[in-house]
Symmetry: C2
Subunit: 236 residues, 2 copies
């Protein structure tokens, strides 16, 4: 089985996803929010690229959610903090979500046979689920401002570490993936510090969002694997 | 001091080099060849982007050197193996060199205030020299076929490790650089294996070039730091 890792949305051409399983990673914070929302019982998450598209997709009873410049969009129900997505708020609901990078990354990966969403919160479960789909894998690190983000690379490395230990077949990893695996193995005992030290971590910290960063840095808290089906992410 | 690391030539826009010191890294094999040639006494290395340009730049007495598809170009004096660049062949000579990625990377970095060439062979000396130039630093990993190459990332990580221990000022490293530092720290005891395991290493191995790979994987063999001055690289 071959596994490739793409360093940022900017680097992703749709063609690279064909006949593959795509794993979209945006640790701070879209994929952490998606995983948390689903773990809290959301019926499905509808990713939208723009605020206007999100409004158009909202049906009666749906939660309208998302961020721009790291803040909740005016008039929306929820922002992009995983901590907001409690069972009381989201259980049984459809969540329409637009974020700066994460939702864009999901749209980029649409040509894949399967699209899964991974965060540090569900990495082991996601690695396991991706093996069951029996395709080569492309991991897309969403990044931020068209640049690589270290927390996404760390999550890719954790996924690769899981794939290597779980797979019965040899797992061939490209050069960038091998670097991410080494990054994870070097920093596995300092995950929160690594996430806090990245550019996005520092930006969120300045905005007073330390609790969000810590919530997003927890490893394997959930077994939930959001998987794209039609226009929405459902429990995989 | 700020340090940024660019993952491949493809990712490099000229604007990112302005007012900076550029360190160009192409471990397999252009920068290893350049460092070896200079350590063996070459007077200067003239990088050329194309075979035609290389021929046009050759003056009487110059060595015409370079590779396409990893092989010496027909009619050229030397290829792109650092082992060919012995004192007997190159001492006192101008070397006109064209390679697939490395020379292209040097041309990309031309807008920088200073352009240095780094390989694993001279990383510590290059880190030291770059500090003396008192600019922010941009490292350009040349990569291969427009993709990141792990051996270039490993070299960037070693350079960063040296900068962190040598600099009297705090060294601020971007997310990609932090990942490369962790890659180096995780793989510092298996440098040859890491280089052999990358896509370019495997390609060269298939072509019977194991000795080249081993020669390029040696850490800090030389103190020579090739530095661009006008059209050529000279002893920095």
């Amino acid at each position: 089985m071959q596994v490739q890792v793409i360093s940022s949305v900017n680097e992703a051409s749709s063609a690279r996803f064909q006949h593959k399983t795509a794993i979209v990673i945006d640790v701070l914070r879209a994929s952490s929010t998606i995983v948390s929302a689903m773990a809290a019982g959301a019926a499905c998450i509808i990713p939208a690229e723009t605020v206007m598209e999100a409004r158009a997709l909202q049906r009666s009873g749906d939660l309208l959610c998302g961020e721009r410049f790291c803040r909740k969009i005016a008039g929306f129900d929820l922002g992009n903090s995983p901590l907001e997505y409690t069972e009381a708020r989201v259980a049984g609901k459809r969540v329409v979500l637009t974020t700066t990078n994460g939702t864009r990354a999901i749209v980029k990966a649409l040509r894949a046979d399967y699209v899964l969403t991974a965060a540090l919160l569900n990495a082991s479960a996601c690695a396991k689920a991706s093996l069951e789909l029996r395709r080569d894998i492309v991991m897309l690190c969403a990044g931020s401002h068209d640049e690589f983000s270290i927390e996404d690379g760390l999550c890719a490395g954790l996924l690769l570490d899981c794939l290597r230990s779980l797979s019965s077949l040899p797992v061939e990893i490209d050069d960038f993936g091998m670097a991410m695996l080494a990054l994870y193995r070097n920093r596995r005992d300092s995950v929160v510090d690594t996430v806090l030290g990245g550019a996005t971590g520092r930006r969120l910290l300045k905005l007073g969002m330390r609790k969000d960063i810590e919530a997003c840095s927890e490893l394997d808290r959930f077994d939930t694997v959001p998987r794209l089906s039609g226009d929405g992410l459902i429990r995989g």
